[in-house]
């Protein structure tokens, strides 16, 4: 903020004609810059929308048809007819829901404990979990699940998703609890509360915004995960991203249904992002986290 305002102030002494021209030119250039950086994101998303609402003929046309006319829902109907998306949706909800729930139950107290004890070594340990490639967990856990006969159920996928959700929740909660003023909890402790009561009834309610951010990010990155479900999911336990990937291998030419499926998987996440973008931006800026 400071850089631009100061530039305008410095560029001329008074609000003369030259100043106004420069001001306009600056605004125009800035507008162009905003347009240039935002357009790739919006273009690809719009192209996905366009593909999923066009009929097959228009999708295969060259030069491409940009606006569906008339828009058709045939692609979505085809996706639901030919696939067991309802089952995949339920699997995704179970996996994401359970993995996020467990991460919150153990991760929020852990974030509190680590922040209070200033246990930086533990925090670094969690960062190492973030560094490790997902495949390096997957091979040993795959062998383990085979050994104890859990393959074919949804549990291996839930357990592996903890690798994504737990570090996100802990990391964001550490950041939140570190900024929380300790006065209120200390007052509670002096009044005879136990440490747990001070956490449960004083610190945790105050950290609700942090819990919201942690929950949302945990949900999004667990929902998006592909590789754990791809390796550990069977025919009946596939999550949505895996089901959509399988459509690619079987319907290589049918672009409309493919785009429709892609849109169905990612739409909830995109809508969630737009709705609470301020909180998400805050959480991500603080942590620099990302799942997977």
């Amino acid at each position: 903020m400071a850089a631009a305002e100061s530039e305008m102030v410095m560029s001329d002494a008074g609000p003369g004609l030259g100043w106004r021209i420069r001001e306009t030119a600056w605004r125009f250039a800035f507008g162009v810059a905003v347009f240039v950086i935002v357009s790739p994101a919006i273009t690809v998303m719009l192209w996905m929308l366009s593909l999923s609402f066009k009929n097959d003929v228009d999708n295969m046309a060259f030069p491409p048809v940009f606006v569906p006319s008339p828009p058709t829902l045939a692609n979505f109907e085809a996706v639901f007819e030919n696939n067991n998306l309802g089952q995949n949706l339920i699997n995704s909800i179970i996996v994401t829901g359970l993995a996020t729930l467990v991460a919150l139950v153990v991760g929020v107290p852990a974030g509190y404990g680590i922040a209070k004890a200033q246990a930086h070594k533990i925090a670094i340990g969690i960062l190492i979990a973030r560094i490790t490639p997902a495949l390096s967990y997957l091979i040993p856990l795959y062998m383990l699940f085979q050994l104890i006969g859990l393959t074919g159920t949804v549990w291996p996928i839930v357990i592996t998703h903890l690798v994504i959700t737990l570090p996100i929740v802990i990391y964001i909660m550490i950041g939140f609890f570190e900024t929380l003023p300790p006065d209120l909890e200390e007052a509670a402790l002096i009044d005879g509360c136990t440490l747990w009561q001070a956490f449960r009834h004083v610190a945790m309610p105050l950290a609700r915004p942090g819990i919201v951010v942690g929950t949302v990010l945990s949900i999004i990155f667990s929902w998006n995960n592909f590789i754990f479900g791809a390796v550990l999911g069977g025919r009946t336990t596939r999550t949505l991203p895996v089901a959509v990937y399988n459509m690619l291998t079987f319907e290589q030419v049918a672009w409309g249904p493919l785009a429709a499926a892609a849109l169905l998987v990612t739409a909830p996440v995109l809508i969630l992002t737009l709705f609470i973008q301020k909180e998400i931006v805050g959480g991500l800026t603080a942590g620099g986290v990302k799942g997977g």
């Binding site: 530039e7 560094i131 091979i139 040993p140 690798v163």
Partner: protein, 296 residues
């Protein structure tokens, strides 16, 4: 005077809170530490799913050193990583400078800008696959529309990695933007005021004040990008699966194929160990550079 005693009291005061972290530590140990140990164990065995396990010592590692496909995959990984770190860091920093200004609709546009990193990678990869199509893809239409020759994108060995980098840049530039924006938001305003009084121009202020202030964040973003680019999997796997041939086979893709297509669990575990060492080494080098930059 008795600062040592105070520090001691503080530590024990803090220690009381550690039990809060025990359940999480237990879970982490189960899903993270156990796999590491087991990977080390597997990496010294000849072990194919369905057949017997045999201890072979470091034979897997010796074999890796002469495995041309593995060595080639290291080259692909480093090529991909170099581009997929440098470009997002440059673009993301520029975007952060823009989003740090005040302008109408900033919140909404910033949300739109971060959509790619929140979108499901498989979905994103599917859309890019269709855009890359040499005959029917929209990218070649755009190229020919502005008078450029069409490209083969992910269908030719020479262009496949740059094309995948394009997807990666689109996907992850927002993360760099957010990290650098965090630095810009936290930057103090006083230096700008005094520089203005001293008559500095906009470029001087950026070069001498803004850049040093956000440098730690740019380095942090570089470290995170490096780790993520080395590990990149979803989009590469969905778009090319390592092809054409093995032209885009990164270490991670090779690892996946060894483990879950060829079921060479022991050999794949050896790849994991080497891969992990490579990631840690690069991350440490970058962190060391960060320390050096701080002190100078």
């Amino acid at each position: 005077m008795s600062s040592d005693a105070a520090a001691l009291r503080d530590t024990s005061y803090g220690r009381r809170y550690l039990p809060f972290a025990y359940p999480a530590l237990g879970l982490t140990a189960a899903v993270i530490v156990f796999p590491w140990m087991f990977t080390l164990f597997m990496s010294v065995h000849e072990w194919k799913i369905g057949s017997a396990r045999e201890f072979v010592g470091f034979a897997n590692f010796a074999k890796l050193a002469t495995d041309p496909r593995f060595i080639e995959s290291i080259g692909h990984t480093l090529y991909f990583t170099a581009l997929a770190v440098a470009l997002p860091v440059v673009f993301g920093t520029a975007a952060a400078l823009i989003f740090n200004e005040r302008f109408p609709l900033r919140g909404l546009l910033r949300a739109v800008f971060i959509l790619p990193m929140m979108a499901t990678p498989v979905a994103v990869a599917l859309v890019w696959t269709m855009m890359f199509h040499p005959q029917l893809g929209v990218l070649n239409y755009l190229l020919t529309a502005v008078g450029l020759p069409p490209a083969l994108w992910v269908y030719a060995p020479s262009t496949v990695i740059p094309s995948l980098v394009l997807v990666e840049v689109w996907h992850w530039t927002p993360l760099v933007m957010l990290i650098v924006l965090g630095g810009l938001t936290a930057a103090p305003t006083e230096p700008y005021e005094s520089a203005r009084i001293d008559g500095a121009n906009a470029w001087q202020m950026f070069r001498l004040i803004t850049l040093p202030l956000i440098m730690p964040f740019i380095v942090l973003a570089t470290v995170i990008r490096t780790i993520d680019a080395l590990k990149a999997f979803d989009t590469i796997y969905v778009i090319t699966g390592g092809g054409p041939g093995t032209a885009s086979e990164t270490i991670n893709i090779y690892l996946y194929l060894q483990a879950f297509s060829f079921y060479n669990i022991g050999y794949a575990s050896a790849v994991v160990v080497v891969f992990f060492v490579l990631i840690i080494a690069l991350a440490l080098v970058l962190l060391w550079l960060r320390q050096k930059a701080k002190w100078s």
